[in-house]
C-alpha cells in the first residue's frame, strides 16, 4: 500500500526462508539472518521499533502530529508501556511482529480497525484488534491473527492450539458481528465495497470469501544456534526444522472451518531479543 493511506514503515528486513503453499495449513518460515557471524537480533530489534508508528497510528494522526513528533511520541509510549505490568510481564511485542510479517509477506492491509461479535451463547460481546484484509480483484479476505512469542516451540504450539479450539467452539464466524472500518483508507480500492458489505450482512463468512488465521510462533531454534551464516547447510537444517514443527502443529486437532497459515519465526534466543528490544527502548529519551 502506498504511503498515502498508512504512515510509512521501514523496508523489509526479515526474509522468507522457507514456504509451502501446497499444504494445509500453509507454512511460512521467516529468517532473521546473520551479519559478520552474528545473528542479527540487534538489527531486528531496531527494525521492529521502526514499525511502531505505522502499527499504532492512523495516517491522519501521523500527519497531524508531524512525522518527527509522531516517532518521538510513539517511542515514548512504547517505553512507558514496557514498564507497565500488563505488557511488561509479557515483556514483548508479539502482536507487532505478527503485524510486520503479514503486512510484508502477504501484503495485508489494516482496512478494518476493529471487529466485534456477539457470542450468542452467553450474550457477551468480544472484539478482535488489528484486523487485516487482503483485496483480490472482487474478493476480500479477512485475516485475524494469533501470536505466541515464546522460546519453546512445544509450549507455543500447545497454547495456540487451545486458543484456536476456543475460536472454533465459539464459532464466531456465524455470530452476529459489527465492524469499524479504518477511515483512513479511502484511497484503498475496496473501501467502498467493504463499507457496503458491512452495512448489510450479518455473518462474517457471508462477507469475506475466506477468513484466514495467521498463526505466528517464535521459538529458540537449534538451527539458528548451530550456524553463524547462511549456507546451504543452514538452509537445509532450517527446512527440516520448520517442517518438523509444522508436522507437530498439523497433527494437533486444528479447526477445519477456517484457513490457517503457520508462520514460524526461529530465534537465536527469545530472551536475548527481548533484552535487545528493551535496550532499544532504554536508549530513547
Amino acid at each position: 500500500m502506498s504511503h498515502e493511506v498508512t504512515p510509512p514503515h521501514p523496508d523489509n528486513f526479515l526474509e522468507v526462508r522457507y514456504q509451502q503453499y501446497e499444504v494445509e495449513p500453509w507454512l511460512v518460515a521467516m529468517c532473521v539472518g546473520y551479519e559478520l557471524g552474528e545473528w542479527r537480533d540487534e538489527q531486528l530489534a531496531e527494525h521492529v521499533m521502526e514499525w511502531l508508528p505505522e502499527f499504532a497510528l492512523k495516517y491522519s494522526e501521523w500527519e497531524s502530529l508531524g512525522p518527527s513528533n509522531a516517532v518521538r511520541l510513539i517511542k515514548k509510549a512504547a517505553k512507558a508501556i514496557y514498564k507497565t505490568e500488563k505488557y511488561g510481564s509479557r515483556g514483548e511485542f508479539g502482536e507487532l511482529l505478527l503485524h510486520i510479517v503479514i503486512r510484508h509477506v502477504f501484503k495485508t492491509f489494516p482496512a478494518i480497525s476493529k471487529i466485534h461479535y456477539k457470542d450468542s451463547r452467553n450474550d457477551t460481546v468480544k472484539g478482535f484488534d488489528c484486523v487485516h484484509t487482503i483485496a483480490k480483484e472482487d474478493k476480500l479476505e479477512l485475516w485475524l491473527g494469533e501470536v505466541k512469542f515464546y522460546k519453546d516451540i512445544s509450549s507455543a504450539i500447545r497454547d495456540v492450539i487451545k486458543e484456536l479450539d476456543d475460536h472454533t467452539k465459539r464459532d464466531y464466524l456465524r455470530d452476529e458481528f459489527s465492524a469499524i472500518t479504518n477511515k483512513i483508507d479511502q484511497n484503498w480500492p475496496s473501501s467502498d465495497k467493504l463499507s457496503k458489505l458491512l452495512d448489510n450482512n450479518t455473518s462474517l463468512d457471508e462477507i469475506f470469501d475466506s477468513v484466514t488465521i495467521p498463526v505466528l510462533l517464535s521459538y529458540d531454534s537449534d538451527t539458528v544456534n548451530n550456524h553463524n551464516r547462511i549456507t546451504d547447510e543452514f538452509k537445509q537444517d532450517f527446512a527440516v526444522e520448520v517442517n518438523q514443527h509444522w508436522d507437530t502443529f498439523k497433527n494437533k486437532n486444528i479447526p477445519k472451518s477456517v484457513d490457517i497459515v503457520l508462520i514460524l519465526l526461529p530465534l537465536k534466543s527469545k530472551k536475548d531479543l527481548q533484552d535487545k528490544l528493551h535496550g532499544e527502548l532504554q536508549r530513547w529519551k
Partner: protein, 705 residues
C-alpha cells in the same frame, strides 16, 4: 438504522438495555458510512451513548473502540486497550504542568504540535473542544521564557492566573503592571494592560483568547481598537502566536497577507448540545416550568442585569430549592455588607445565584465557585458570564434572545449553548430556547488594524507606525497631522480617549484659558470648586452623559460623588443614607447605581479623563511658556483606588472584595508594591478568622500566589 432513530433510541434506557449490541452496531455502520461532513453528527451520537455507557453492558467495548476511532482519547480507559491503541493513547498524553499529564484528543494534539513546531495558529472550535488546555501544554513544554496571554476581562485574568499558578516553580505569573518581572514570566493581561508603556518586556510566544474581539462587530469601539493595538505591539515583538475562539467562519481581509499563520476550524465536540424548543409560549411561565423540571446545575441567560434580576425573582418566588451551607453564609455576609433587601441577598438565600456586571467582581466569582461546586442549582447571568468564565452546567435556559437591546447573532447563540455540558460530567447538555434561534451565517474575523477602512477607529491608526499605514489609513488621520492645537505625542499618550475629543478640548482650552486658568492650575488634590470645574469639563467635553451606565445624572452629582469617595463610605452607609431621604427607594437600584459608579466612573472614566486633561493642559502651558505644571495624577489614582492603597483595589481582581481587604487595610497597604501585598495576603493566618465567608474569600484570593 438512520441517525435520527439511533438518536431516539439513545434516549430510551430500556431500549438500550435490550438492544445494546444492535445499537452499537448501528453506530459503527453510521460511522463507516460517514464522510468528513457527517462524521461530527456520528461523533455526537457516540458521545450521547457515553451518557448511557453502563447500559451498554458488554457492548461497551464497541463504544470504546468508536471513541478511539474518533480520536476522543480522553474518554478512553487505558487499561482496556489493545497494544496498538495503548501506544496511540500514550502518544496523546502530554505534560500540562505540576507533574500532571493530560490526554489530548486528536485535534488538540494537532494544534499543540503545530504550535510547538513554530507555526502560528488561529483556532475556531466549539467551547467543549478544550482550546485552553493547549496553552497549558505549550507552557509545560518549557520552550518559551516569556509568554503573554491576552484575555478580554479581569475575571478571566483571575481565572487564568489561578489555573496557571501550577507553573509558579518555573514562571512568575504577572497580571498587573504594579508587579515586577522575573527571568521567565507568564503575563495574563487584558488588552489595556498589554499596551501600558514598557511593562511587557521580551515576548517569545503570545496568546489571544476570544480573538474574535479583534473584529469591530464583536467589540465595537475602543476596546476593539485597543485589542488591535495590543496584537500589533505583540506581533512586533514576536511573530509566534496562538489565537483561539469559538464559532468563526474564517479570517478575512488584509490580515492574511501580512501575518503568517494557519487558520484551523474544527467542529469537534466533546459534549453534545440538545436543544429543547419552548418558543412561542409564555416566557415567564416557561422559565418556571423548565426550572422546575430540570435536573442538574442550570444557567439562565438574560439580556441585561435588570432582566437577570427579574428572572432570579421569578425562580426563587416559584421554586423551592435549598442552597448549600456556604451559599447561606454568603447571603448573610452580603446582607451585612450591602443590604438585607438587595436582590442578591434574597436570591442567594433561596438557592439562586446572580452573575452580572452590577455585582462586585469578587462576589460574583465566589458565586460561580458556589455554582460549580453544587452549592446553588440556578445561576442567572448576562453575557458577562458567557464570555469565557468556566462553568459546569448541565442546562442553559435562554430566557432572552438579546444582549441589551441587540438581537443575539448565531455566533453568540452558539457561544451560549456551548456552555451546557461538561467533559466527563455532563456528556449531554440541554439548551432550552424560548425564542427561535438565530439563523444567520457564522461571522468572519476582520482586523481593522489591517483593513484600515471607515470602521477603523482613529485612535488605532494614530498608534501604529507610519510605515504600516495604508493610503486610506493615512487619509483618515490626516486631520490630526494638519492641526496645531495638540501634538500627536499627547494624542497617542491618551490612548483610551477619542482623538477628536482631545483636539476639541485643546481648542476649547486655547479659547478659554484666561477664564479657566485659576480653576485648572492645581497640584495634588483639588478643592471642591476645582473639582466641580473638572467634572463640568469631563461632562461637557468628554461626553460624560453617556458614560458609566448613567449611574450619575449631572455634573454636580459627579462632583459630589467623587468627593464623597474620600470619606470611604460603605455601600451599606450609602443605602441607609438614601433611605433616610426617601424610605421608598428601591434598594437594588441604589446598590446597582452605586456599584456602577464605583466600577465605571471612579475606577475607570474619571481618572482616565482627568489624566488626559492634565496632559493636554500641560502641553498648552509648555507651548505658551507658562512656567507651571499641573499635577492631577495623585488625585486620579486616589479616586481610581477609592482613596485606599492601590494594592487594596488591585486585590479586588484576585477576588478579594474591598469590604474585606479594608478590614486589614494597614496590613495590606504597601505603597503600591503589589507583589508585597500579595505576599502578605498569602501569609494571612486564616485559621484565626472566625467569619467563614471572610475566611474563604481570603483563602480563595490567596490561591496560587
Amino acid at each position: 438504522m438512520e441517525m435520527i432513530e439511533v438518536e431516539n433510541h439513545l434516549k430510551d434506557d430500556d431500549y438500550i438495555l435490550q438492544n445494546s449490541f444492535d445499537l452499537a452496531k448501528s453506530l459503527c455502520t453510521l460511522y463507516n458510512n460517514a464522510d468528513s461532513q457527517s462524521v461530527s453528527k456520528v461523533q455526537n451520537l457516540v458521545i450521547r451513548s457515553l451518557e448511557k455507557y453502563e447500559l451498554f453492558g458488554s457492548s461497551k467495548i464497541i463504544i470504546d473502540d468508536l471513541l478511539r476511532e474518533l480520536k476522543l482519547f480522553p474518554y478512553l480507559n487505558s487499561d482496556e486497550l489493545s497494544l496498538a491503541d495503548t501506544l496511540a493513547y500514550l502518544a496523546h498524553t502530554t505534560d500540562i504542568g505540576n507533574d500532571s499529564e493530560a490526554v489530548l484528543h486528536g485535534p488538540q494534539a494537532e494544534i499543540f504540535y503545530k504550535l510547538l513546531s513554530g507555526v502560528s495558529v488561529v483556532l475556531s472550535a466549539p467551547t467543549s473542544f478544550g482550546k485552553s488546555l493547549i496553552i497549558d501544554a505549550v507552557i509545560a513544554s518549557q520552550k518559551f521564557s516569556n509568554i503573554v496571554i491576552v484575555v478580554p476581562t479581569i475575571s478571566l485574568i483571575d481565572e487564568t492566573r489561578r489555573r496557571l499558578s501550577k507553573f509558579k516553580e518555573n514562571y512568575k505569573v504577572i497580571t498587573h503592571s504594579l508587579q515586577e518581572r522575573f527571568d521567565k514570566n507568564i503575563y495574563v493581561l487584558t488588552q489595556e494592560r498589554v499596551i501600558e508603556e514598557d511593562f511587557v518586556g521580551d515576548v517569545d510566544f503570545f496568546v489571544i483568547d476570544e480573538f474574535y474581539k479583534l473584529s469591530t462587530w464583536a467589540d465595537g469601539g475602543n476596546r476593539c481598537a485597543l485589542l488591535n493595538e495590543a496584537f500589533y505591539r505583540l506581533y512586533k515583538k514576536c511573530e509566534h502566536f496562538y489565537m483561539l475562539g469559538p464559532n468563526i467562519n474564517g479570517v478575512a481581509g488584509e490580515f492574511i497577507e501580512n501575518v503568517k499563520f494557519e487558520f484551523i476550524k474544527y467542529n469537534y465536540n466533546t459534549v453534545v448540545t440538545e436543544i429543547h424548543d419552548f418558543t412561542g409560549s409564555d416566557k415567564e411561565g416557561s422559565l418556571i416550568d423548565i426550572c422546575k423540571k430540570v435536573e442538574g446545575p442550570t444557567i439562565v441567560f438574560s439580556s441585561s442585569p435588570d432582566r437577570a434580576n427579574k428572572a432570579a425573582e421569578l425562580i426563587y418566588e416559584n421554586i423551592q430549592t435549598e442552597p448549600g451551607n456556604k451559599a447561606k453564609q454568603l447571603a448573610t455576609w452580603v446582607s451585612e455588607n450591602y443590604h438585607a433587601e438587595w436582590i442578591l441577598t434574597i436570591a442567594l438565600r433561596n438557592g439562586v445565584g446572580i452573575h452580572h456586571a452590577r455585582i462586585p467582581r469578587g462576589v460574583s466569582q465566589y458565586i460561580v465557585d458556589l455554582f460549580n461546586s453544587g452549592e446553588i442549582k440556578y445561576l442567572v447571568c448576562t453575557s458577562t458570564l458567557i464570555e469565557g468564565v468556566n462553568t459546569s452546567a448541565k442546562n442553559i435556559v435562554c430566557y432572552d434572545d438579546k444582549i441589551n437591546r441587540k438581537k443575539l447573532d448565531i455566533f453568540t447563540f452558539n457561544n451560549i449553548s456551548g456552555r451546557s455540558g461538561r467533559m466527563f460530567k455532563h456528556f449531554v447538555g440541554n439548551v432550552y430556547i424560548l425564542s427561535p434561534p438565530p439563523v444567520d451565517q457564522l461571522p468572519l474575523v476582520e482586523l481593522p488594524l489591517y483593513n484600515q477602512d471607515e470602521n477603523t477607529p482613529d485612535s488605532l491608526l494614530l498608534n501604529i507606525d507610519e510605515k504600516d499605514l495604508t493610503e486610506n489609513g493615512k487619509e483618515k488621520i490626516k486631520k490630526y497631522y494638519e492641526q496645531d492645537y495638540l501634538s500627536l505625542e499627547t494624542i497617542r499618550l491618551n490612548k483610551t480617549i477619542d482623538p477628536n475629543d482631545q483636539v476639541n478640548f485643546a481648542k476649547a482650552l486655547e479659547m478659554n484659558f484666561q477664564s479657566w486658568s485659576h480653576m485648572l492650575l492645581w497640584r495634588g488634590f483639588p478643592d471642591y470648586e476645582q473639582l466641580s470645574f473638572i467634572c463640568a469639563l469631563v461632562w461637557n467635553n468628554f461626553n460624560g452623559k453617556s458614560l458609566g451606565n448613567r449611574s450619575v445624572s449631572s455634573t454636580k452629582q459627579l462632583a459630589f460623588k467623587i468627593n464623597q469617595l474620600m470619606s470611604k463610605p460603605t455601600i451599606h452607609d450609602i443605602v441607609n443614607d438614601r433611605l433616610s431621604y426617601n424610605e421608598n427607594s428601591d434598594i437594588t437600584s441604589i446598590i446597582s447605581k452605586e456599584l456602577d459608579f464605583k466600577r465605571l466612573w471612579a475606577n475607570f472614566h474619571f481618572p482616565r479623563i482627568l489624566r488626559a486633561i492634565e496632559t493636554i493642559t500641560n502641553e498648552y502651558l509648555r507651548k505658551n511658556n507658562i512656567n507651571y505644571e499641573c499635577e492631577y495624577t495623585a488625585y486620579a489614582s486616589s479616586v481610581e483606588n477609592y482613596f485606599y492603597d492601590s494594592s487594596i483595589v488591585a486585590l479586588e481582581e484576585y477576588g478579594l472584595p474591598v469590604e474585606i481587604s479594608a478590614l486589614i487595610e494597614d496590613y495590606l497597604s504597601t505603597d503600591g508594591d503589589l507583589d508585597e501585598a500579595l505576599n502578605r495576603l498569602s501569609e494571612v493566618d486564616t485559621s484565626a478568622i472566625e467569619d467563614p465567608v471572610v475566611k474563604s474569600f481570603i483563602e480563595r484570593a490567596a490561591y496560587g500566589i
